[in-house]
């Protein structure tokens, strides 16, 4: 695992998550260095990134620890961030 590419909230989640390498329990945003080539697209899909919008550098996915390890090692993956939860900015 290239921990240098994981953001701090994802590091915390990894440290506290159950030890099931295959469970897709990490909702993440993956930032790529460039829109993926066909080969990189295949790697992303093999690692569990189900949908990759064409020509985009940011993709979302639910990954397992094993997928994270695989993708973080790729030089064309710039960063992986845990999907934080946002909230609406209105009140009654």
């Amino acid at each position: 695992m290239d921990y240098g590419k994981l953001d701090a909230p994802l590091a915390v989640r990894l440290a506290s998550a159950a030890d099931d390498d295959a469970a897709r329990v990490f909702p993440v945003l993956i930032r790529l260095t460039a829109p993926p080539s066909a080969e990189q697209l295949a790697t992303l899909r093999a690692a569990g990134v189900v949908r990759v919008p064409e020509g985009r550098r940011t993709v979302s996915a639910d990954l397992s620890r094993r997928d994270l390890e695989r993708l973080s090692a790729e030089p064309w993956v710039q960063a992986v961030s845990l999907s934080g939860e946002r909230r609406p900015y209105g009140a009654r």
Partner: protein, 581 residues
């Protein structure tokens, strides 16, 4: 009688009319547009608006005293004797009948306050052939404000195969739209401000097409939702504006997080994103900790100002030319070890079990998206750590690794309920605009009060003493960003705003004006106001890009008694004057 076609207030009045309850009718007649209640020689009549089927012909509707005014197509006005309501309601061309009181333009103050009426009267722009995307809690497809204009709903909370941008949720169109429900009501209200169209309430861009994403509110869902809306816009050949009345503080507050970068990636000519600045203007959620060598600085953290037990998080950022260590001290005095930046070869997160609860601290070497240093701390207090009568106060401890390590740490406290706060002199009333509002290309909006009183469904008058009429709302979050970038961009009406009420939501009664409208406040309301304005601008020029729109807005915005172009961390470049755009 087809009661389903009558607005509830009209249906109730119709019943009272038949019960000969003249006193009730008289009490409401002035505000509801009923006439001749006390004149036996003339039939009691109602001034109403009719929502008709497209190109309906009502020439064949005949009843003594009934007068349908000329003009209009789907929306027409009429004076109808109560005895003639049944004839009108049973006509195939009439979809709904609402009392004239609903014709009060609730957004008058907001629209007039920033010159939208003047602008639209001059230009005729209504958002036609522009797509407005609302990524929010959903939309009420039954609401008359949106009739016939919702292209799609992607409900990320329903089980399904998703869309090309995300393999989750269910995409709905046509008759399927009603499968999605806006139980929170926030998204419907936001949609109404931006693109509502009805006699009751006129949104800023009432002819715009609408796509709603009922999001799961995770960064990944929001990102996919933005990408989805813009793809639909491309496929439909329409310029598109996406409204994001949401946010949070998990990010570095400089626009370098993945969600903000995704916003920057999606925007361009004919593709705009508007974001709410946030509602934490009066909340102590940000602190600046000056660090001088190895001296320990202590920042008090209160998980909940009401003393309830809540997990909370601390998100700290500082420049890469220093190395700082952090620790957490519990209310009992026990504390974790100090933890500094950890090499990338191992996980930067460590867990500490204290008598008061569990603390997890991550201190990566650097962040690869902005090259700054970051620490993230999760605190999970135990139930027994609460001392009766005392607010449990935790402490964030910060110090330099060595004597030469100096600098400032910006840190935000966050929790799911929004009740966690800092305490003490290091709290700072700036830099409260988080992602996606800090995205460079996003048009980020602060909130202004154009209405502070309203009349509820029971005709009781309420006021909002926390607001000052015709002034910035205190709750509106301040900029600038952590890197000094100027945010918010502009200010727009955001309190109190009356807009569409989702029938699947349950608002407080005093904020409910009738069965179709509710009052809300927030930068969530200012944001769609601006998104509506952007839709008008895109109708005029479908190639406008974020930079050009910001130039236009900046040139036509100002704080009271200030020149256009002057930046303020609360107002941005000031209150928008739409009339001059």
């Amino acid at each position: 009688m087809e009661y389903r076609k009558l607005a509830p207030s009209l249906a109730a009045a119709y019943q009272r009319y038949h019960q000969d309850d003249v006193s009730s009718l008289r009490r409401q007649s002035a505000s509801l547009g009923w006439v001749s209640v006390d004149e036996p020689a003339k039939p009691t009549r109602a001034v109403v608006s009719l929502i008709c089927t497209p190109d309906a012909t009502l020439d064949d509707v005949k009843h003594e005293g009934l007068r349908i005014n000329q003009g209009g197509n789907r929306i027409r006005t009429a004076i109808v004797p109560f005895d003639g309501l049944e004839t009108l309601a049973e006509h195939d061309g009439v979809e709904r009948i609402v009392s004239a009181h609903l014709l009060r333009p609730y957004l008058d103050a907001a629209r007039a306050g920033v010159g939208v009426d003047t602008f639209q009267n001059t230009t005729g722009l209504t958002g036609k052939d522009v797509l407005v995307g609302i990524v929010d809690t959903g939309i009420d497809p039954h609401h008359p404000a949106f009739t016939g204009r919702i292209e799609r709903i992607w409900d990320q909370t329903l089980h399904g195969h998703g869309v090309p941008e995300g393999a989750f949720g269910l995409e709905l169109k046509g008759s399927q739209l009603t499968q999605s429900r806006d139980t929170e009501g926030h998204g419907s209200h936001v949609s109404g401000i931006s693109a509502g169209a009805e006699p009751v309430f006129r949104g800023v861009a009432p002819d715009a097409r609408i796509v709603a994403v009922k999001t799961n509110f995770l960064d990944s869902g929001i990102t996919a939702g933005i990408q989805y809306v813009f793809r639909l816009g491309r496929e439909m050949g329409l310029p598109t504006v996406v409204n994001l009345s949401l946010g949070g503080h998990y990010d570095p507050h400089d626009g370098s997080d993945a969600l903000s970068l995704s916003v920057d990636e999606e925007t361009g000519p004919g593709r705009l994103v508007c974001c709410a600045a946030g509602n934490e203007g009066t909340d102590d959620i940000h602190a600046r900790v000056p660090v001088h060598g190895t001296a320990v600085k202590s920042l008090p953290c209160i998980p909940d100002v009401k003393g309830r037990r809540h997990d909370f998080m601390l998100n700290g950022w500082y420049a890469t030319d220093s190395r700082f260590e952090v620790a957490v001290a519990a209310p009992s005095g026990h504390s974790t070890d100090f933890q500094g930046p950890i090499p990338t070869t191992e996980n930067s997160a460590m867990t500490y079990d204290l008598p008061d609860g569990k603390v997890e601290i991550a201190t990566p070497e650097t962040n690869t998206l902005n090259d700054d240093r970051n620490f993230f701390i999760m605190v999970r207090p135990e139930e027994h750590s609460l001392a009766p009568g005392l607010l449990p106060t935790w402490q964030l401890l910060v110090r330099g690794v060595g004597a030469a390590d100096r600098g400032t740490v910006d840190v935000w406290i966050l929790d799911k309920s929004g009740h966690a706060r800092f305490n003490g002199p290091m709290t700072s009333d700036d830099m409260k605009i988080g992602s996606p509002g800090c995205a460079s290309s996003a048009i980020t909006v602060a909130a202004y009060a154009t209405r502070t009183t309203w009349e509820d469904i029971d005709h009781d008058t309420f006021s909002a003493p926390w607001l000052r009429l015709d002034d910035i709302a205190d709750f509106s979050s301040e900029g600038p960003l952590r890197d000094g970038a100027r945010k918010p961009d502009v200010t727009a009406p955001g309190a109190m705003i009356v807009s569409a009420l989702s029938q699947d939501s349950a608002p407080e009664r005093e904020l409910t004006l009738d069965t179709e409208h509710v009052a809300m406040q927030g930068t969530s309301m200012a944001c769609p106001f601006l998104a509506g304005v952007c839709a008008l601008l895109l109708e005029r020029d479908g190639d406008l890009d974020p930079a050009r729109v910001k130039e236009l807005l900046k040139a036509h915005s100002a704080r009271p008694h200030a020149e256009a172009g002057e930046f303020d961390e609360k107002w941005g470049f000031g209150l928008l004057d739409v009339a001059g755009l």
